[in-house]
Symmetry: C2
Subunit: 203 residues, 2 copies
């Protein structure tokens, strides 16, 4: 069967909306067309609030001048919370990781968002990450926990930062490597198993 191309009517505004939607991640041309049609079927107010929401994101969201996480208030809620322990900083790659650690409810220190990892292949060196801001925050800090992702680039970034911080006399740690909770030994990769064995905990 010969497949049809776009099924969008020759309506310029509908085609423009579909074209712009299809540039968003995870939206193919067909989904973009479906959404464009969908806009005509839902209440007017819903389309207006969606359009408003998109504008609101770029107008309101900024990065915290202290920890570089995304926020609407500067400094962010965590940086400005005096109940949190300012002597421990957890360094993460992205602001999503802040949320992931917050959900554990086991950390009461501060965060620092690098905004990525060292990746020479992609032209990301130390100057492209928020490292200078981290070094400026070290007064009164006892420990820095390096919580970059357990990937080659994440580990390399942690090693780089670890050296930098130890030179300044800061205690440096990284997240434990081991078996993920609920995981099945049989299906866990050998690197993780190796790390879990090496870091075994006496009970």
């Amino acid at each position: 069967m010969i497949m049809n191309g776009s099924s969008l009517p020759q309506v310029p505004s509908l085609q423009r909306a579909a074209a712009r939607l299809s540039r968003l991640p995870g939206i193919g041309p067909r989904t973009a067309e479906r959404i464009a049609f969908h806009l005509l079927r839902i209440p007017r107010e819903e389309v207006l609030s969606l359009a408003h929401s998109l504008r609101e994101v770029i107008e309101k969201v900024r990065t915290c001048s202290i920890c570089c996480t995304l926020t609407e208030e500067d400094p962010c809620a965590i940086c400005s919370d005096s109940n949190r322990d300012g002597s421990t900083i957890c360094v993460v790659q992205d602001c999503q990781d802040v949320q992931a650690i917050e959900r554990t409810r086991t950390f009461s220190g501060q965060y620092h968002v690098l905004g990525g990892v060292l990746s020479p292949m992609n032209g990301v060196g130390p100057d492209e990450l928020n490292i200078a801001g981290l070094l400026k925050r070290l007064e009164g800090v006892n420990e820095v926990i390096l919580a970059t992702n357990p990937t080659v680039e994440g580990e390399a970034t942690a090693i780089y930062l670890g050296r930098l911080l130890k030179d300044k006399g800061i205690q440096v740690s990284k997240m434990a490597r081991g078996l993920p909770m609920g995981g099945n030994m049989e299906f866990i990769d050998e690197v993780t198993l190796g790390e879990a064995l090496k870091g075994r905990q006496h009970i």
Copy 2:
């Protein structure tokens, strides 16, 4: 492994945008979050034109008062084209079907969009479709081609309209049933094969 929930930071405008995006068809909560983050990375102007496009769709797109297809001008480009043959009307379910037939470049008549098919189970009776508008257009019309989808509901709608139109002395036809071009006999369903056999063309 216990999966994390939303990885979206506690930024109200970002969360609102993601929530509204996830109500669109084909966009799950994860894709909605990715898009919300993506908005912060692309140029400001792109977000503004996307938001503008969404509003433009509901502000500019309307249905043609003659054939009920989607259009920005009323009557639509096809209905107002005097070079087209007004004595033949092709009846389709949705405005996307107009585009599909236009792409064949084999039809130069007019269209009429029903806006759906009869479906008593879903509460769609003749009054819910643009049938009254079709009956008003019949002056000077010789032939009506029923091009509803070859489904149970599409066929039922065609039978209903066929009776209605024949009573008014209009010649009624439907799209030929048969083998799709490029199809493989082995994989074509038996109903289509049966129709192709019944409608065999002498050569």
